[in-house]
Symmetry: C2
Subunit: 329 residues, 2 copies
Amino acid sequence: MPDSSTSTPSDRVPVYLDCDTGIDDALALAYLLGRPDIDLVGIGSVSGNIDAERGARNTLDLLALAGRDAVPVAVGAHDPLTGSFAGGAPHVHGSNGIGDIDLPAAGRGPVDGSAADLLIRLAHEHAGRLQVIAVGPLTNLALALRTEPRLVDLVPRVTIMGGAALVPGNVTPVAEANIANDPEAAAAVVEASWPVTLVPLDVTLEHVLDEDDRSALLASGHPLPRALGEMLDLYYGFYVELYGERCSALHDPLAAALALDGVAATVAPAVPVTVDATDGPGRGQTICDLRNQRQRWVDRDGAHVRVVLEAEPPLGPHLMQTILGAFGS
Amino acid sequence: MPDSSTSTPSDRVPVYLDCDTGIDDALALAYLLGRPDIDLVGIGSVSGNIDAERGARNTLDLLALAGRDAVPVAVGAHDPLTGSFAGGAPHVHGSNGIGDIDLPAAGRGPVDGSAADLLIRLAHEHAGRLQVIAVGPLTNLALALRTEPRLVDLVPRVTIMGGAALVPGNVTPVAEANIANDPEAAAAVVEASWPVTLVPLDVTLEHVLDEDDRSALLASGHPLPRALGEMLDLYYGFYVELYGERCSALHDPLAAALALDGVAATVAPAVPVTVDATDGPGRGQTICDLRNQRQRWVDRDGAHVRVVLEAEPPLGPHLMQTILGAFGS
């Protein structure tokens, strides 16, 4: 992470976060708020783990807990580009998206305009500098691209938590939830000619928080880490089946950390990526062309999507340090 | 491998081989001919590596070289269930399917009737005992199932070289050649309620022959191993890109060896398998539901397809020993 002890607002990296808050979204948000070298200039919500409206409210409440009420939050798409929102993942994130814990209600609401509008405005305002981090379904980004095709030139990099390259999916045998929730949007975003970093299950499942981390969050004197520790209770329960112990994958925070060089992508070939948007059994799969990569990882000519397969060091300690460093007491 | 030194014809396991000969098909054929405990009761050809007619001729010529002219060979489907044969893989197997080497022409031709007819007849003749080993596209098996649905009860096990579960495909990012050449047939064969052992690229790429093996084949006093050594020259050349050295994957012989317990499937969960037969980017993929298998490999209730992910010991030595043991001098 760059030394930012002396950074001024204009030095800081402007970041737009698109999310469906969501327990791991909350961790990603806390991580971004804890990074002194970035400027979180806007957040859009989208239906995914929970509906877009509730996701925005969760985000606003978390920002209030962090004392960061100046960050604008826009409500994004309720429904995917085709069809309608299927109801989220209450078995993973609770019926309210944040593990069924209660947060004090923020004293403000979302800004006017859609998440896509906000993204477009910020991309122009921070032309060539805005880091876009998308950790939910890609509906807002696809809508923004439709309205403002120049986004691909204005935004230097889009980092997406989503997909599965060489590991099984988590909602179908081949599809990961963020992509499966809106394959048409994901196809549009991945096909657009901007530099994309795809952070799939291959790598996000390898970075975890455990019970010791949760205890440390709960022991904090600040309400934000405590709330994170509380909501992780339900999330850890969900992951017992996968990991055989109470812990959690760090899907969304890993995308945030990779976007901002908090951890490094150590295996991340740039290869052709196609999203299956058929109605067949592969719907929602991120088809990454990783053929002939047996000897070494090679970038393919003209590929603008980098698929992260390994990241180092383990995110857990850096994530904890960043959150507790900013909100420890 | 069972001790068969005293086995009589009726003790021996009856085997039907469906193939698209092909260099690794030739290795599988030699392996089967070298196994004294099995009775190769019939062979059908299908278009894949080469067209079905040429595949049958290659098979007949190899059988003649082995002195096994009694094994019936039937010409199978030239075209897949939908569309037409796309021309094979001359860059892998040579323009004649067997590495562009010349074999003495067999003194006989194929039997009357199709490969599907032959399979149906043999399944009745050896009801409950016939091991079906399919190492080409699955067109013949699908046609046989259409004609005789009771095949699923007559045949105790179908072992298929095909597909890719958690590794990239070899003709598209997700599809392996045998399945990609006729996804509709593969879907029908995998959905039929017979016990299927799927031997995908995940495991076949891990078993190889190398230059020492090829030298040993070339040094044989028998023309069959010598021919195999000669045709492997071209095959090894193809695999340099993948492995970084001259060697070859043992796709088809591994399926044959697994079917007949020459090597053991050490990781082979029974899971739901769906073949993508859409016209989308996933066409030809074998979608194996391997979710939640992180802690240990678990068979899923009701799944009738076993997906081999690891096999031991390495096939190379057993394959060489079997072929040179039978045809060494």
